[in-house]
């Protein structure tokens, strides 16, 4: 049974058709990668799923419920967790408090109940030593980790990761992939937008290719990476 399903979703910004008739479904427990050149509409697709951007046409089903018109808050409560491509921390709050907001609202937990779980997430994401530091003092890499940690604190059924590995060193990337694998192993479904293909392909079962807002391919990673069309689109941008 699919946990997330998009049916013919479209969105235009002015004259720009940023999402065109996109349909796909994500099975419960599946990990799906999304690739495509810059400006292909990948982040917009996430914003449509989370409700930060309203769809012009089409239907979005989450957990068998039509959420096309639901505000972001309700989708989060239902189990959609996301990270932002450009980290959006609560700058004056501490790292721990950032998670506490997510656990308190997104997962409807009391502070007392959330404490241990938030601490555990901080340990898993390697942020526990910075727990009581204001988020504004974090480095870019730590901010990316905070994005992941905060999304996890909302207790998501589906986790949307937006270029979380971009800009990381090889070692950091590997550690992050391990964390994501562990999350996936606990049964959380994942949709992951990423340019770092080897990281992506070591986690996901299927790849979706987006170009000019259209789905131009979806399937097993080796099948997708073998396709001429995808190679053409990707060769110009990525080595």
């Amino acid at each position: 049974m699919p946990i997330l399903e998009l049916r013919n979703v479209s969105k235009t910004f002015g004259a720009l058709k940023v999402t065109q008739d996109v349909s796909f479904s994500l099975a419960a427990g599946e990990a799906l990668g999304i690739i495509g050149p810059n400006g292909a509409g990948k982040s917009t697709l996430f914003n449509l799923i989370t409700g930060n951007v309203a769809a012009d046409a089409g239907t979005i089903l989450f957990d068998d419920r039509d959420v096309t018109k639901a505000p972001p808050m309700q989708r989060c409560m239902a189990g959609v967790g996301r990270t932002f491509q450009i980290p959006q921390p609560f700058a004056k709050l501490t790292v721990f408090e950032n998670l506490l907001v997510a656990a308190g609202f997104g997962a409807a937990q009391t502070e007392r109940d959330a404490t241990d779980r938030c601490a555990e997430i901080l340990e898993d994401t390697g942020l526990v030593k910075r727990a009581n530091a204001p988020a504004s003092t974090l480095s870019l890499l730590q901010r990316k980790r905070l994005e992941l940690a905060r999304a996890l604190a909302t207790d998501p059924k589906v986790l949307l990761l937006d270029e979380i590995a971009g800009g990381l060193t090889e070692g950091e990337c590997e550690a992050l992939v391990e964390t994501i694998r562990a999350v996936h192993a606990r049964g959380v479904s994942i949709v992951w937008i990423e340019h770092v293909l080897h990281a992506l392909n070591s986690v996901v079962q299927r790849l979706l290719v987006l170009d000019f807002g259209k789905v131009i391919g979806i399937g097993a990673p080796e099948e997708i990476m073998g396709s001429t069309e995808v190679r053409e689109i990707y060769l110009g941008i990525k080595v």
Binding site: K92, G104, F105, T115, P134
Partner: protein, 365 residues
């Protein structure tokens, strides 16, 4: 022990700091001293303290509204004026006691906030600010048509109402004061109670889950929505609460003044511009900021009183300088340097064995 038993809690949250413990003892002492103050202070000093306390209430309200909920209103005078007029109507037309009418003034302001909120919540940013001002002007013009309360020129509270006000007789006999002075003492005490309750309420609110949600909203609205914070509901709740307290404060101010006119009661300079100045120079988004701000404002006002319009120019210049060089206000400057905070809202993660993660950077929950 069963290995499958409930997991033991190995982490906990701590919010108190050493400075805060000492501070709460000092506050308790100061409040007690504040209650006794009228016994040994001159009447004019008691009136000054009344002014400081009521401005503090307005400043804490605006700080919660703008500093936390992100609702930058320049029309708070509407609730001061409406609360005051509702009180006047209850006393002059219905013959109620001014003290109970103060509460009804707050209730009136809260009721008014429902239709005004319905209108202004459709606006964003600068349009929201302008909208609040327009609403205030509309309500002022409407009340200026109310002949029974003096229309555009205003009216005074009936002498009998203030003289026979609840407990005035008692205070005047107890301390051997004239009724007018006893009324000043009584309104001062009420202002002290309202200021303590307002500050206490906001402090309590900021330590709850909703308070944390408000702080998240203040820092990043989009992210707050994405982690499940119900932004619209929180903003409405804050707006209505603040309207109530602002209305109570307005009614209290005009019980003390005993004379009202639409221009004075709906003055944007007195009830909003000064209040914004207080919050901004003190430090927006902190509970300590408005307290520091109101003291600085009062000292400036006294020091510059004889310079006429230069006073306003200097006030403006000072506001600009502080915004440029200390955008988080005098309290922000202080707390960045020292790490001291008197109203700790920071939730610190500590291990149960007492091991503390070191705090870095300035505390500013």
């Amino acid at each position: 022990m069963d290995a499958q038993g409930p997991p033991t809690r190995s982490w906990s949250i701590e919010t108190r700091t050493k400075a805060s413990r000492g501070f709460f003892i000092a506050v308790a002492f100061l409040v007690a001293l504040g209650f006794l103050a009228p016994l040994f202070l001159a009447r004019s000093t008691v009136q000054d303290l009344f002014f400081i306390l009521t401005m503090l209430v307005l400043a804490q309200c605006w700080n919660l509204l703008a500093g936390y909920a992100g609702l930058v209103s320049v029309g708070q005078q509407v609730f001061v004026g409406f609360g005051a007029y509702a009180m006047f109507a209850c006393v002059s037309l219905l013959g109620l006691d001014p003290i109970s009418a103060i509460f009804l003034g707050g209730l009136g302001a809260a009721l008014l906030s429902l239709p005004t909120g319905f209108f202004i919540f459709r606006l964003q940013g600068a349009y929201f600010a302008i909208g609040t001002w327009v609403v205030a002007e509309v309500v002022r013009l409407l009340l200026a048509q109310w002949r029974a309360l003096g229309g555009g020129t205003g009216t005074s509270l009936p002498n009998s109402a203030t003289r026979d006000m609840w407990a005035t007789q008692f205070v005047s006999e107890l301390f051997d004061m004239r009724p007018a002075q006893a009324m000043d003492v009584l309104t001062y005490w009420l202002a002290l109670v309202v200021a303590c309750l307002t500050t206490g309420f906001i402090y309590w609110l900021l330590r709850t889950r909703r308070g944390l949600g408000l702080a998240a909203l203040r820092d990043n609205q989009e992210a707050a929505r994405a982690v499940g914070v119900d932004a619209a509901r929180l903003k409405w709740a804050v707006y209505i609460c603040v309207s109530f307290v602002t209305g109570v404060c307005g009614a209290l101010i005009y019980v003390q003044k005993a004379r009202i006119s639409p221009d004075a009661a709906f003055s944007v300079v007195d009830w909003t511009a000064y209040v914004i100045f207080i919050v901004v120079i003190g430090g927006i988004g902190t509970l300590e900021g408005p307290i520091v701000g109101v003291i600085v404002f009062f000292l400036l006002q006294n020091a510059l009183a004889e310079y006429g319009s230069w006073y306003l120019l200097l006030l403006g210049a000072m506001g600009i300088i502080i915004m440029l060089f200390a955008p988080r206000g005098l309290w922000g400057l202080f707390t960045d340097r020292t790490g001291i905070q008197f109203f700790p809202v920071r939730r610190m993660l500590v291990r149960r064995d007492g091991h503390h993660s070191k705090v870095q950077g300035g505390p500013n929950g």
